[in-house]
Each structure stands twice: as C-alpha cells, then as structure tokens.
Symmetry: C2
Subunit: 204 residues, 2 copies
C-alpha cells in the first residue's frame, strides 16, 4: 500500500505551515520507504508565499482528494480562498476515509468544507476572531484531534501535526524518530515528549 499525504497550499501561503510539515513528513520516504509520498497540492502549478517565495507544486486539488491524508495549510489569502467557489468546489474530502488536518487559518477552510461542525478546533491567534465568526469553537491550545480530524494553531505546531499524521499512518516508533531527528540538539527529549503529549503517544 502506498500512502499519500497532500498538503493544500494556496497563493499567499505561510511557508512554515506548509513546508515544516513537508520536510518532516518526507522523513519517512527519505529513510527509504518507497510506499510513502508527500505532495504539495495547489490549484496552480506554481504558487507564491506571503513573503514572495515561489515554489513548484506537485499535484492539483483533484489528485489531493484521493490522498490518504490531507493537510490544509494557512496563508494571507485564506478568506479569499474560502469564498472562491472555483477553488472550494474542487476540494472534496471525506473524514470517513481520510485523515484531515488543518494548520492555523486552514481551520477556516475546514469549517467551510463542513468538516468541523461542533467539534472544538485550534487556529492561530491572528485568525482566531474570524475563525470564531465562521462558527468554530476555538480552543486555546496548540493541537486537538478528534477521530480522523485534527487542527493546530501557531506555525511551530506543524511539528505536532506531522507527528500525529505519522503516528496514525505508521505508528509511534516512526513518529518518535521523526520528532527526535528534527528537534534542536540538546532538547530532543523535551521536544519529543511535549509532542507525544499533544498527539496522544506515550512519553519516552
């Protein structure tokens, strides 16, 4: 079985929210697992970040719809994306079959897609007022998972999102290895344990 994780990345995207996860999740394939694939998914073949970094994207939104896990990134234009029927109409996710995660303002898109309902969710402090205005019960914490849905708030929470996806798709050992690899030298136990507390893994 080939596992595919798509990271939805839109014009004006936040570099940390899409690309920390891209790097951390890619650890699995980098270690030689050819059944693991991570893709940047976008409506366009190239996309430019909120700070002017232009990247080539890997797949379109249609292909992302069939991924095993989908991470909805964040950015400066999330509200415009959420109100653009030509983009939103292309996104068809199913939390019965897929893991679906949002980072920061991506929680707004998750709500617009009807994936949150009354479940509490996380977002960043800047987006919080308008994510609340969209009807979301926003938690004052970095990460929250419920079933196949998870949300995170604050760019560096991307480490928790990535670890949760690896935990759910590959188990605790690989999630722990990735966390340990990316953590600062001299602080690895501290980073691993805090992340495992968030994602529900046993502390090491």
């Amino acid at each position: 079985m080939k596992e595919h994780i798509a990271i939805l990345t839109f014009d004006g995207f936040n570099e940390l929210d899409s690309l920390i996860a891209y790097g951390m999740l890619s650890r699995i394939s980098l270690l030689g697992d050819t059944d693991w694939r991570v893709s940047i998914a976008s409506p366009t073949p190239r996309v430019t970040s909120m700070n002017g970094l232009t990247i080539d994207t890997h797949i379109d939104l249609h292909e992302a719809n069939s991924a095993d896990a989908v991470l909805i990134g964040s950015g400066m234009k999330t509200r415009e994306v959420g109100n653009d029927a030509s983009i939103m109409g292309q996104i068809k996710l199913d939390s019965q079959k897929q893991l679906i995660v949002s980072q920061c303002s991506g929680t707004f898109l998750m709500a617009k897609l009807g994936l949150i309902g009354k479940t509490p969710a996380c977002t960043d402090t800047t987006s919080k007022p308008w994510v609340q205005a969209a009807g979301v019960n926003v938690l004052n914490q970095a990460f929250y998972a419920n079933g196949n849905i998870a949300t995170a708030g604050g760019c560096l929470s991307a480490q928790y999102v990535s670890a949760w996806l690896i935990l759910r798709l590959r188990g605790l050992e690989q999630a722990t290895e990735a966390l340990r690899y990316f953590a600062p030298v001299g602080e690895k136990d501290e980073y691993v344990n805090r992340a495992l507390t968030h994602i529900g893994g046993a502390r090491v």
Copy 2:
C-alpha cells in the same frame, strides 16, 4: 538603511533549515518595514530540496556576499558543495562586517570558509562526525553565538537562529514579537523564554 539577510541554499537543501528562517525573518517586512529584505541565495536560479521541492531563488551568491547577514543552510549535498571550488570560490564573507550564521551541516561550509577556527560550534547529530572530522569543536547544544558568528544544530533550532539575527539587527522587542507570533498557541511564553535564553535576551 536597508538591511538585507541572505539565506544560502544549495541543491539538496533541507526545507526546514532554509525556510523556517525565511518565514520568521520575513516577519519584519511583513509588518510593514520596507527597510528589511530577506533573500534565498543560490548558485542557480532554481534549486531543489532533498525531498523534491523546487523553489525559485532570489539572488546569486555574489549578491549574498554584500548582505548584512548571511545564513548558511543545510542539506544532503553539503560535502559536495564544500568540495566544489566553483561554488565555494563565489562565497566571500567577512565576519568583521557581517553577521554569519550556519544551520546544521552549514557549519561544515562555515569551517571550510575559515570562519570558525577554534571557536566551538553547533551542528546536527547526523552531520556531527564529519563536521568534527573537518576540525570543528562541536558542542552538544542547539545554538551558540560568539561575536558576529553563530551556529545551530537540529532543524527546529532555526527559530533560535532567526531570533538571534533579529535581536542583533533590530533589538529585543522585535525578536520577542517574532518568536511569540510563530510559537504554538498555549506555549508562547515557554517558546519565547527558551529562545531568549539561547540568544542572550532577557526572559519575559
């Protein structure tokens, strides 16, 4: 005065090591400061990461040489870069006039450029043996600064590198604001205080 920070980014680069800093450092210009500029610098107009992410770069190595601060990123091909005279010959940095920082295996390039000498330095755990073999006294910690030179080990130490550069170029208030903005929700004081301890700022 326009301040310019160049992030040296080579073929096979580590996404977290170049792009966490790119996003965090860009916080200053995003908040409206037009005297602040952050650039991805590379020998080529486009560069592909260790996990297959292709980005457009902003400037060449020659232009990076005149930046106020230079961050040397990390990647899978650092040893090849360090042994490529056509690349290394283009890099001419001066720690009397510039802040110079390296992340993970970038410390190897800093040593090859003659910028470290006997000063202790940080790198990641994977690179440590061959960075030591290059004559560097490697510390078992996330961040170390000495004068205008700083080094960091472990991808998520990019937050310390970024905060140190902002501290040195713009002061404590802006460094603290950036750290707080990017930290996970509910953990902001913890992240800010740990980073400030690393970079020598007062805890908040």
